[in-house]
């Protein structure tokens, strides 16, 4: 009874709950002792934040109907800068409060880089009217290029223990990284659902021209979205430093596809204008359950790569057909009402 009501009033959420439960049950059935173990859940707590943050960064742009693929490149540029600054503390044997000063300084610089990268993307998109996908393809080459040149392709390490402690420990049984992600998730959810900015972003996504005539400053709102996206990428970089104590220019290349998958699976319309934060959370959970399940089943990266691609294609095709059916049904309903 309850379920039926939910399936009618909120079909996207209902569908995702079903999908998430199905994946969870399937993985549990395949590896009952390992998938339900505490170790598996705590390791998931360490993996979700990274992909989750990149998903949020991508979602902010996807809701405007464009695809931003530069988040991972921005994140890596930030980790490299951040760790370069932080390693000074380790080198000079600074500990305690003084080390936190280094960490704070690094964080500020990383956020600034995130803002600048976001501004570059946003400015190019809004001022020159170039499709975001092409712009971010070029800028991510530039960001990655800078990272390669700066590190000569090497991995950097040396974050102070004060920070890496938080990356590898938990509070109330949940990893600090997860808390960090949850806070940012709530902030982004608030931003999207309760603020003027979030509403305007959705309007722009569903119809840019109409939003302009409705008096929305489209360019300013878009620019803000790109800056926020860059800032989230920078925060992801901070989380990565805390967890792995390493920075490399090509870290996490597969996150672009996974983030895109989590967004699309999470009922975000790639044509823009529609996003549900609850669905994004469930989409993320589904992707993580699948990923962890594959690991436990000892299926390697190749199978995952195949699965992400197949799922992405399947989900976008399914969504389009589903929307088309819904639209036709709505037209039929209206026609019926009109006739009676």
């Amino acid at each position: 009874m309850n379920k039926r009501r939910l399936s009618n009033s909120d079909p996207d959420l209902f569908r995702l709950i079903v999908v998430t439960i199905l994946i969870f049950v399937a993985m549990t059935a395949l590896k009952p002792d390992k998938f339900l173990s505490k170790a598996n859940f705590s390791s998931m707590c360490y993996q979700i934040p990274e992909i989750g943050l990149y998903t949020l960064a991508m979602m902010l742009i996807l809701v405007t109907g464009q695809t931003d693929i530069s988040s991972v490149a921005i994140g890596n540029l930030c980790t490299i800068t951040g760790i370069t600054i932080m390693s000074q503390a380790t080198k000079n044997n600074v500990t305690g409060a003084a080390a936190w000063l280094y960490i704070l300084g690094a964080l500020i610089v990383m956020l600034l880089i995130g803002v600048v990268c976001g501004l570059v993307n946003g400015f190019t998109v809004t001022y020159f009217k170039v499709p975001t996908m092409l712009v971010t393809m070029a800028t991510s080459s530039i960001f990655r290029g800078i990272a390669v040149v700066a590190t000569e392709g090497n991995a950097l390490t040396g974050a102070p223990e004060e920070l890496t402690y938080f990356g590898n420990h938990g509070f109330l049984g949940i990893a600090y990284a997860m808390w960090f992600f949850l806070i940012i998730f709530v902030v982004v959810a608030y931003l999207m659902n309760r603020t003027k900015f979030g509403m305007e972003l959705r309007f722009i996504g569903s119809n840019e021209k109409a939003s302009e005539y409705a008096g929305i400053n489209v360019n300013k709102t878009l620019l803000k979205a790109y800056v926020y996206s860059g800032v989230i990428a920078a925060l992801t970089g901070f989380e990565i430093i805390a967890r792995t104590d390493a920075a490399k220019y090509d870290y996490g290349g597969s996150y672009v596809n996974q983030a895109l998958l989590a967004c699309v699976l999470g009922a975000t319309n790639p044509d823009g204008g529609y996003v549900r934060m609850a669905c994004i959370a469930l989409g993320l959970a589904s992707v993580q359950f699948l990923s962890s399940g594959f690991n436990l089943l000892r299926l390697g990266g190749n199978v995952k790569q195949f699965a992400w691609g197949a799922l992405l294609v399947f989900v976008v095709c399914f969504d389009v057909l589903n929307r088309e059916l819904r639209r036709k049904k709505a037209i039929r309903d209206v026609a019926k009402k009109h006739n009676s």
Partner: protein
């Protein structure tokens, strides 16, 4: 006379050629070895695969669509072809090898067309899905091993040279036969895009899909042909990479994951998807510029890890350069 110069300079191809010449001269001044026939031959060999892949993405972008999977499709087609042939101990005529690869690639591009044109999916997202799917599928379902013994006639093709030149240091450099493939394909594409009704229709679809539809162009059909042509080009490029490289592997690192080099070349040659102006000549110049820089950075003493940065900067300049001389939309001004 001055007017004439101004008019010529308006062509993007001319600008690009001048930039290319300037860079060649600059590099040659630093290292005279750059400006030699031998180095030119090396350039041809290094850029052969990318030059052909760039044609595939060019025609797709001219039609206003996008394909993130072209390099993966080409590699997939070539590897599967080689795998089938070597597993069964077959050694057919090279034309048949190319044909098998082309058919596989056309089938895969048909899938892309179906998603982009019939289901109206976002081209980038759908084709990223295809790319990821194929990249994994070839390793999971086909094989992960390198194929070192190609069918003998393809192997022979890889060792066919047209001419030999010598560097100042005495090292030989040879002109690979793939230069004929490049020349023929670019010529055919140039004629197709510039002088045929079909080419005009592709540009029309790319400039404004709706307007093209109302002008009586069958947009879906045009896009289908475009994607199938891209499939043919990918099939040829895949086999040619194997011939030049003398072995076949599932996801060759210099192709898969380096799509942005071809895309940057197309953008530099103004094959931009939102503007739908693109030409085979411009793309060729773009490819030459990109390959020349990545090939010769090391010769003028710049470490090769600057290549990625150079690619990105060139791509960005290409994007911004052609967009900035476009008339601003009125609506954008009213918004302020």
């Amino acid at each position: 006379m001055k007017k004439w110069i101004k008019k010529v300079l308006e062509y993007n191809e001319v600008k690009l050629a001048l930039i290319f010449l300037a860079i060649v001269v600059l590099f040659s001044l630093i290292n005279p070895d750059v400006f030699t026939v031998a180095n030119l031959y090396a350039l041809v060999r290094a850029s052969a695969t990318n030059a052909i892949y760039a044609l595939a993405i060019m025609i797709v972008m001219c039609s206003g669509a996008f394909d993130a999977s072209f390099a993966v499709i080409g590699s997939f087609g070539a590897y599967v072809t080689m795998y089938i042939l070597t597993q069964n101990g077959l050694d057919p005529h090279p034309a048949i090898v190319f044909l098998i690869s082309i058919l596989i690639c056309m089938a895969l591009e048909f899938l892309n067309w179906f998603m982009v044109s019939i289901l109206h999916l976002q081209a980038y997202i759908a084709t990223t899905g295809t790319a990821s799917l194929l990249k994994g599928a070839v390793l999971v379902f086909v094989s992960t091993s390198y194929i070192y013994t190609l069918p003998s006639q393809i192997g022979a093709l890889g060792k066919t040279y047209l001419a030999t030149a010598v560097y100042g240091s005495g090292i030989e450099s040879q002109l690979h036969v793939s230069v004929i493939f490049i020349a023929v394909m670019y010529l055919v594409m140039h004629i197709l895009m510039t002088y045929t009704n079909f080419g005009r229709q592709v540009y029309a679809v790319g400039a404004d899909e709706e307007a093209a539809e109302r002008a009586g162009i069958n947009v879906k059909r045009i896009r289908l042909i475009v994607f199938l042509i891209a499939g043919v080009i990918c099939g040829v490029a895949g086999i040619l990479r194997d011939a030049v490289g003398r072995f076949s592997l599932p996801n060759p690192a210099e192709v898969v994951g380096k799509e942005n080099i071809s895309i940057a070349a197309v953008i530099l040659g103004t094959g931009n998807s939102s503007k739908a102006r693109g030409s085979a000549l411009g793309t060729l110049l773009g490819v030459l510029l990109m390959s020349f820089i990545s090939n010769n950075l090391i010769l003028i003493g710049i470490p090769s890890f600057y290549v990625e940065l150079a690619t990105g900067v060139l791509m960005y300049i290409g994007l911004v350069g052609q967009m900035s001389n476009r008339p601003r939309r009125h609506s954008a001004k009213e918004g302020k």
